[in-house]
Symmetry: C2
Amino acid sequence: MRIFNFSAGPAVLPTPVLEKARDELLDWHGRGMSIMEMSHRGKDFTGVIEAAEADLRTLMGIPSNYKVLFLQGGATQMFAQIPMNLLAGGTADYVVTGSWSKKAIKEAQRVGKARLAGSTEADAFTRLPGVGELSFDPSAAYVHLCTNETIHGVEMFDLPETPAGVPVVADMSSHILSRPMDVSKYGLIYAGAQKNIGPAGLVIVIVREDLLGKAAPTTPTVMDFSVMAENGSMLNTPPTFGIYLAGLIFKHLLAEGGLAAVEAANVAKARRLYDAIDGSGGFYRNPVAVDCRSRMNVPFTLADGALDAAFLAAAAERRLEGLKGHKSVGGMRASIYNAMSLEGVDALVELMQDFAARRA
Amino acid sequence: MRIFNFSAGPAVLPTPVLEKARDELLDWHGRGMSIMEMSHRGKDFTGVIEAAEADLRTLMGIPSNYKVLFLQGGATQMFAQIPMNLLAGGTADYVVTGSWSKKAIKEAQRVGKARLAGSTEADAFTRLPGVGELSFDPSAAYVHLCTNETIHGVEMFDLPETPAGVPVVADMSSHILSRPMDVSKYGLIYAGAQKNIGPAGLVIVIVREDLLGKAAPTTPTVMDFSVMAENGSMLNTPPTFGIYLAGLIFKHLLAEGGLAAVEAANVAKARRLYDAIDGSGGFYRNPVAVDCRSRMNVPFTLADGALDAAFLAAAAERRLEGLKGHKSVGGMRASIYNAMSLEGVDALVELMQDFAARRA
């Protein structure tokens, strides 16, 4: 029996995708071998990666002047790899709205110059900075944002106003593919796979072509976006199984109606959960300002933190897993990515209501 | 029906391991979710990575003063990551015995100082350098070797004599786990997974503890071996599915009797294939000096290269795949990694003999 998995990542994947992967795990399309056993240079795998890219382009409406890269190392490696590729001896502006963007600027400062353009840390990352709280350098190489903070549950629905001509670089790891996004507003989008894309060990980079070719000469070849773009992400052996699985997920999302349909489902799920929190009479509480509450990651606390363990035990009894909050925030966190069903959210809401009724 | 897959990597994996992965793909050990969907910080996955490390330590007899890391980026990223971690402002010596060690020195020279200690390129990488052809710097930070050259089919069975106190760093990507190795002779061993370890997207590093803590300050945190060692390879999200599958393969090799038994099988397979080549009266030819012929990668040419296409077609008819040689060498290449059975080698030998008899 499959449980309801609210983990922040690695996270729940669509059951039909896992079933298909299972069914063809030893013999992909009658070729007598697993997709994992195939040469990445052969026409079968080349077809898989090309289809994955084409389907992602369709899903997200990626303009033709953007390259799509399938890389290794996760978002954390990207925190260093992006300045290596884009700084070109200059400086970049970072907006810090949670743990992940804070890590990103720290890492960028190891490899180059990164400047804090604004932060909401003083408010425990419970809101987004207002216009007056941000100061941008019009000559920056780029502005870096994390458009959904997985730990703090803060999501950007509108981008801050940034200087014309300065490309926006966005870490979308935990909400990519959760709704339509206008890719043309960004210079570079990156996302670790292990939330809405597929298994851990893959990171996707979508980069505008004019930003290529600026890597510092000491950048490892395999980390140079231009070289990887020229080589179709296959300078070296790519994480083939992860790319294959991501491709299956892209096809699954297209079959479900694309990102507009996905967004509608995510809006419904998030509304149900936030309504349960806000309607609990203070038994549960989400600290994030209403206009930037994440649809993907919903942290909440119990008014009486001494009940946390009992709540998690009650959840486990109903086979709701992965609800323990990040240690830096405490309490609970429900990650309700694309592959979490409304049924799963309903089960969580029912638990929350039952638990509150018993303890109130 | 499973075919015989002679690909150089990604490559054939043990069928029982794939069957187990398939059977538990949607529900790992009754947990109601896939291993791919689990938090890497939970006790289930922590148990998986700890067991994988323990089993690898048993298999290879890794001394306790070595750390085992499960990383991303493949051997190609390691070509840069190793000098970043070990050079400490110094220089390193590289022995070039094929395409991969040639790539390694080139990449090292992007990030630091690397010196050519010897090369057999003038002889088209068909032999190993003799003692008189190698000159080492006794103050080098390390000596780098590729102990099995996948493309040229050259394997080191004895290490060259290197200066005392200079650690040996070995790229063992294409023959790790093929036979017992004395880990204590090395300062660092690394290997991309996609030959004898598991699926692509994972690289294993085995490093002596005294070599840690020397990374250049600009090294991305996630690429610093010391930091990854301190964090049990989990500073960031590791490639969990690849680690899980590698762990299954380690258990499979232990159940088969460990590396001594694996070596015996590999010796038998290699002997059968080289005998067929050498006994073909010149119809087939392997150019590598007999004392360093690889047991894992067997390149061979047909005396009449015009027959290459017909040979590959005849192989495909018998469902023997992945035999086309690397473009830089031409002809054929049979990669006969651990998971290739003697039955598969026999099928190849039979094809070679039948084809030669028909065309001779």
